[in-house]
Structures are given as structure tokens and as C-alpha cells.
Subunit: 236 residues, 2 copies
DNA sequence: CGTATTGTTGAGCGTAGTCAAAGTTAGTGG
DNA sequence: CCACTAACTTTGACTACGCTCAACAATACG
């Protein structure tokens, strides 16, 4: 359960065995979420904070017109509502992408943990800095790239992050994202995403079907997506 | 010189007199930048870190096609390359908007300061969390709002942040942003920004001319920009 | 005073959006 | 296990918002 968390942290900071034990020794509560279920709601005061054990989750905001914009997708081992729980009120929503399981900890326990183990606090800080780098990249993606590049870039980022926590170099993942969600990630419409996906499939770059993503040409996909992973700050 | 910094921090965290003295006692170096001059370059390893004393700066990335996307604009009192200096390599550029002056500190001094004064470290962490909230809002702005709303929202954010550091409730600011820069903030072209600005002027919402911004109708502007400042986390 | 930068205008175009309907897959309960 | 339904994907025709290109005007600047 803690594997992905420590694997991620180990690339950025060294934790002592005591730090690790402290993290594992917390009173984590496992909670399951169904597809599209809300994990955190904008405006609520988060009393809990947690990381993903299985599945995916995304951050999201809904604008006046009713349109939704997704701002990031999170994978196992990542904390999803740290930012929200450190502020008085959550400024965005978090939803489950497909079904997911999270390990939750009370805000109180979390602050105590950070106080007693500064290295853990530092790790969490670095996490939020990487998160910020990813948000910046998304501004660029949505602001200055065409539809094909946008969608490809998104896929590249996701695959690259999975690889970094050791999901291996597999070229076939379970990725239960719908075209509507993909559209909300890229600032496009579902109809247009559909056309882009057909194009990418025809170019034999990827195949995304029935919640399963298959990378057919990883190099070509990175080229098409103008992807340079340095903003992810994966050591090595 | 430190006024805006402490004014901002005081809304989120309490600093002791010792903390404050420690900050002011550092060996800050003042540096001036000309319009559009680079403050940090992508790929460089930042050895210094600093905050804006006067003027503005923005974060930016250039994509393959040569297009530039601006990801945030920073005002006096804000730290601009904290994120970059905590990583091995900067993952984006920082440029001066108009002429600006920054107070710089070596990375080494900064880390020492944080270690000796945890409250200062905490304040900086909260800063980066607010930064992240702003990046998220920009993703939404660029991804899901039409051009008029986008430009209005950007202006609202800027004014709102200035007010928060006590630039008063003035309705006329010096804001030396060009239409090209505005376009790079919003993911539009300079030509289209020009047309949007004419529209906003005609609707008697704002007037932006010769580097001077005048708010004619603050309520109307917020409505047009679908602006809700809660994501800025200004206490009170 | 001359030159570079920025702002403005117009005409035509194209990427992505809208709307609507049919086809497909997944999920649920009888 | 099948039937029914809801969610998602695909297709086509048409539209529109914002882009491109190009030229000219105004402003800032050295």
C-alpha cells in the first residue's frame, strides 16, 4: 500500500527508517470511491487528507457556463487533497476517475506527523511543488497547443508518471478515462476528442478502447505530443 | 521593501519578531531588470532566489511552434523563483514585465533561513500552495472560458491581488502589459486581444492604454470575467 | 528625429464547436 | 443470464470563434 508513496519520495529526498515507520504507523482509513464520485467538494473544509492506493482521481472545477475543466489526474501513491486540507476551504473538486481506493488520514494527525518528522513535511512540500509544475504545463498545453498535440501530451504525461512509480515499461495499461473526461482535461469537446483519437489510432500511435490504453509507438507519440518530461522532475 | 512580503504573510501565518528580523537581516542583493529581460532561464540551475520589490514579472514557457504561454504574473512582495531554486533545474522561464527590481538571496542562505526559522519555511510553503491554486485557475481560464471572459478574469485577478497587499482600492494602476503579453497569458492572439479590449472599453468596463489600467466598472468587470476570488485565499 | 515596438483595421480562413441521431458498450436488476 | 437502460462512442452537416496575413497608424525610445 505504501510502496508507490515511498518509491516516489525516494527519488527526491532521503527518509530515515523512523520517518517511514511513522508514516506507516498512522491510523489510515481505507475508503472506496465509485466512478465519478466526489472525493472533495469545492467550498468544503477538508478535515481529512489522503493518498491514492488504487485507481485514479482528478482535480476539477466547473465554470458558470456549466463546463468542467480538469486540472490534473493523479495516480497511486499521490496525495490528492493536501492542498485543500491546508487551506480553510477547498478551492476545487476532486473526483474519482473510474473506481478508486484512498487511504485517508485526519488533518490533525497529518499536521502532527509533519511536526514530528520534518523530512516527511519536506517530502510533501516537494510533492506540491511538482504538482505546481504539472499545473503550469497544463496551462501551456491547453493554451498553446493544437488538439492532436494536446491529447498526445496528456497521454505521454500519464504514462511517464506511471513508469516513474514503477508501473514498469508496459505498453498496455488499464486507463478507464472516457472521451468526455479527456475533453475536460484538454479544453476540447468530446466530439473533437473522438476525432483526434481516431486520428492517433490511424497513425498507429495509440489505441484507447474500453478503458484500455495501448501504446503502439512511444517515440512517435512523444514527438506528436511535443513531450519533454523534465517538468515532472523525476530524478535520474 | 519588506512591507508587501510581511503584509501578505500576515494574512496566513503569524511570524515572531525574531522571524521577521531574520528575514530582514539576510544579505539581500537588489537587482534591476529591463523590460522583457530574463530573470530565470529554463534549464538553468538557479543559485539565487528572490522576491519582487518593484514592478512585475511573469513565468513563461515557449513551445515547439515558437508560441509562448505565460503561466502567471507576479507582483511586489512575491517570490518568483522559489520553485525553480528548490529543484535541480528550472523548468520554466521568468521574465520581467516592464522594468522591475528584485531582492535576491543565495540558495544557501535561503535554506539556512528556512532551517533556523521553520515559520518562514511554512510561510513560503503556503505561498507555493497559493501559486498552485492560481495555476489551476489559469488552466480553467484558458481551457473553458471565451475570450472576453478570459481577459476580464485576468484583469480581475491582477487587481484583486494588488488590493490584497494594500495597493489600496485605487481604480487606476500603472500596468505596463502589452497586448502581445496579454495574448500569451490568455492563449489568444494579440489581434484578438485588441478586439476584446476595444469591446471591454466600449462596454465601459476598463480602459487599458499606454501602460495604464483604469477600472471603470469593477462589479461589471467581475461579472464579465466570472471572477470569484476565493481561490486566491486572501484571509478575510 | 528616425527606428523599433506596439496598437488597430480589414478580409478571408480553419480548427474546433454545436446539434442531432444512430450505434455500441457497460451496468443493473429481475 | 438476459433484458433493459444508461453511459459512452461515432458520424455527418453546419456553424462560429478566434487565427492568419497584411498593411497602416500611433507611440515609445534612443
Amino acid at each position: 500500500m505504501f510502496g508507490p508513496v515511498f518509491r516516489r519520495w525516494s527519488k527526491k529526498i532521503e527518509l530515515s527508517e523512523a520517518d517511514r515507520q511513522a508514516v506507516m504507523g498512522q491510523r489510515w482509513t481505507l475508503r472506496s470511491f465509485r466512478k465519478s464520485e466526489y472525493i472533495v467538494r469545492e467550498g468544503s473544509s477538508a478535515t481529512e487528507c489522503g493518498f491514492i492506493v488504487g485507481g485514479y482521481a482528478y482535480r476539477q472545477k466547473v465554470v458558470e457556463s456549466g463546463a468542467r475543466q480538469i486540472m490534473s489526474i493523479h495516480i497511486p501513491g499521490e496525495f490528492v487533497d493536501l492542498q485543500n486540507s491546508l487551506f480553510a476551504k477547498a478551492d476545487h473538486n476532486v473526483q474519482s476517475l473510474g473506481a478508486s481506493t484512498l487511504a485517508m488520514l485526519s488533518r490533525r494527525d497529518l499536521t502532527a506527523l509533519i511536526d514530528q518528522h520534518p523530512a516527511v513535511g519536506r517530502a510533501l512540500w516537494l510533492d506540491t511543488l511538482v504538482d505546481a509544475a504539472i499545473f503550469r504545463e497544463w496551462v501551456v498545453n491547453v493554451g498553446r497547443r493544437d488538439s492532436r498535440t494536446r491529447v498526445s501530451h496528456l497521454i505521454c504525461e500519464h504514462v511517464s508518471r506511471l513508469q516513474a512509480v514503477g508501473a514498469g515499461t508496459e505498453l498496455e495499461f488499464q486507463f478507464p478515462i472516457t472521451q468526455l473526461e479527456l475533453a475536460d482535461c484538454t479544453g476540447l469537446t468530446a466530439v473533437h476528442v473522438n476525432r483526434v483519437l481516431q486520428d492517433l489510432r490511424q497513425q498507429e500511435l495509440i489505441e484507447l478502447r474500453n478503458g484500455k490504453l495501448r501504446i503502439l509507438d512511444w517515440t512517435g507519440l512523444q514527438r506528436t505530443g511535443a513531450f519533454d518530461k523534465s517538468y515532472l522532475h523525476h530524478a535520474a
